[in-house]
Amino acid sequence: MSHYEAPIREPLILGHKSYHDITEDIAKPIEGKANKNWFIAFYISLAAMLWGFGCIFYTVGTGIGVWGLSKNIGWAWDITNFVWWVGIGHAGTLISAVLLLFRQKWRMAINRSAEAMTIFAVFQAGLFPIIHMGRPWNAYWVLPLPNQFGSLWVNFNSPLLWDVFAISTYLSVSLVFWWTGLLPDFAMIRDRAVKPFQKKIYSLLSFGWSGRAKDWQRFEEVSLVLAGLATPLVLSVHTIVSMDFATSINPGWHSTIFPPYFVAGAIFSGFAMVQTLLGIMRKVTNLEAYITRLHVEYMNIVIILTGGIVAVAYATEFFIAWYTGSQYEDYTYLSIGSATGPYAWAFWSLIIFNIITPQLLWFKKIRRSFIWSFLISIAINIGMWFERFDIIAIVLSKGHLPSTWWRFEPTFVDVGIFIGTIGFFFVLFLLYARTFPVIAQAEVKTILKSSGESYKKLRDDNHE
């Protein structure tokens, strides 16, 4: 019985579906016309994106003095947003790579969109360090190129350069992993396209995928090896991002638990973003039979786990800051000083959104509710943004000397660029949802017989 699955497991595909029904359901959003809601969402996102681009041009034209930075806080919103976006990206790789290695079938309904989210989020993340350079046209100086300024090379001892290698490897490997998985699905759209233009585009995108037995054999091997490579890769990316802080000697940053805690936080925030996006998408694209309550519950379980790791890390940081007895540790981002100081609002936002709210997910009713999951995911998105803001702005606001004490206030440009990246992200995601097969239909077809509702029912009835 190659297709056996324990009756106690809930079905992953609801209703009575055939292979052809899956094709129809996943091709429908691409072949149909966009509805009014899609256009409203698209235009709002587009407006935010253009506003953000305007702020970027203003920054580049005038200089980064238009941001709320000073000699004491040399990075604040930009690096906060960078870490936030990179962290969001992590869930996509976790779903497509780590869950593949663990043979989790529920990943198949959500991996495509989660990985699209990864790629679009890493685009946004990459913008910030490049704009922060002030002269983005020199961004290629971060590459180890022989140059005309003497044979001075990039510094391979620096975590910032490790970031360049980690993020670019991560982005490009995620992209080919995603695209390789897309080939059979683009081929499916190509083979049923009726409009010549559409046929041409999807022929081009599918690279001439024909679905030979040998192709599938290689496809599965390549997916497995890529998953094996992407798993340590995704862990390395946020580890290296955390080293941007952890290798410094600032109180509050110089912390050996940063790498695992940042990775857990990244997965936590990424799953929250997947939950936010899919909560909307399953409704808009009528894919409720594929992205089910069970998927939402599984994601919420990952959120509780990683959120728990983050909470323990916060408690450890708080305890250690107090336990040192050092007055310099009393104004790190998790300390009595920051809980009662001028940044108390940021401190308590972090605790409420990131630690207290997710605890609601211990209740099965809430964890299986679409609307509650959606609301909690928004809270976590906000909370995880505050985590990075607190680590950066609170820690930097009180240095060792009172003369360096300074409060960061964002300007409209800081805010504008951040809103712009959110707009840009949603523009990309909305375009994706209309033109790409949003569910890995070839993979979903392989689990139809083991995890489809009607097949399961048929089998269970026969066993009784």
């Binding site: 599918s206 679905g211 054999q217 496809f219 490579l229 070839a442």
Partner: protein, 177 residues
């Protein structure tokens, strides 16, 4: 010219096509190709396809990437322009190696992943503007297509395929196309 003739047998179930492949193989016929809309486990073994060696290439590419990373960090940081960074002078690569571990790891993954995927695309003959070669558009939807060359045994093959559960059987002259 019977050698350019092939039989296209369509199936609409993965288990049926797997059994059919085993039956056709047992009757000692050569299966030219099976086109599938999704991977069918055990099909490659049933068809007698050799295991793919693409994971081995990935390992070799990864070793290459690691070598390049070692050479790059050695050449730039130790040999060409050594600097004293943060009180950690660059006298030898081995002593500075811990700081290069992230670069060594990333370049290993970069080479292993990208070159393997490029190898896959080239070996399976896939690239932009390449025309698809599946004979029927339904093979990316819900049909499986088995292609068998005909050598004066058309009737026998047709009977065998129909018996094995094929929903459609066509004889096609490849040269007529």
């Amino acid at each position: 010219m019977s050698s350019s003739k092939v039989i296209h047998a369509f199936y609409n179930d993965d288990e049926v096509v797997l059994d059919a492949v085993k039956k056709v193989k047992a009757a000692n016929h050569h299966i030219e190709e099976v086109f599938c809309p999704f991977p069918v486990h055990g099909l490659d073994k049933a068809m007698g396809l050799a295991p793919t060696r693409i994971a081995i290439t990935s390992f070799m590419y990864g070793i290459t990437g690691l070598g390049i990373a070692i050479w790059l960090t050695y050449y730039t940081m130790i040999a060409d322009w050594p600097q004293d960074i943060g009180g950690k002078p660059s006298f030898s690569w081995a002593e500075n190696m811990p700081a290069f571990v992230p670069i060594m790891f990333e370049l290993t993954v970069f080479f292993a992943a990208h070159l393997m995927v490029i190898t896959f695309y080239l070996r399976s003959r896939m690239w932009p503007f390449k025309n698809a070669e599946n004979p029927d558009p339904r093979t990316t939807d819900d049909h499986f297509l088995m292609e068998i060359p005909v050598h004066d045994n058309e009737k026998e093959l047709k009977a065998l395929l129909t018996k094995s559960g094929a929903v459609e059987v066509h004889v096609i002259d490849k040269e007529a196309h």
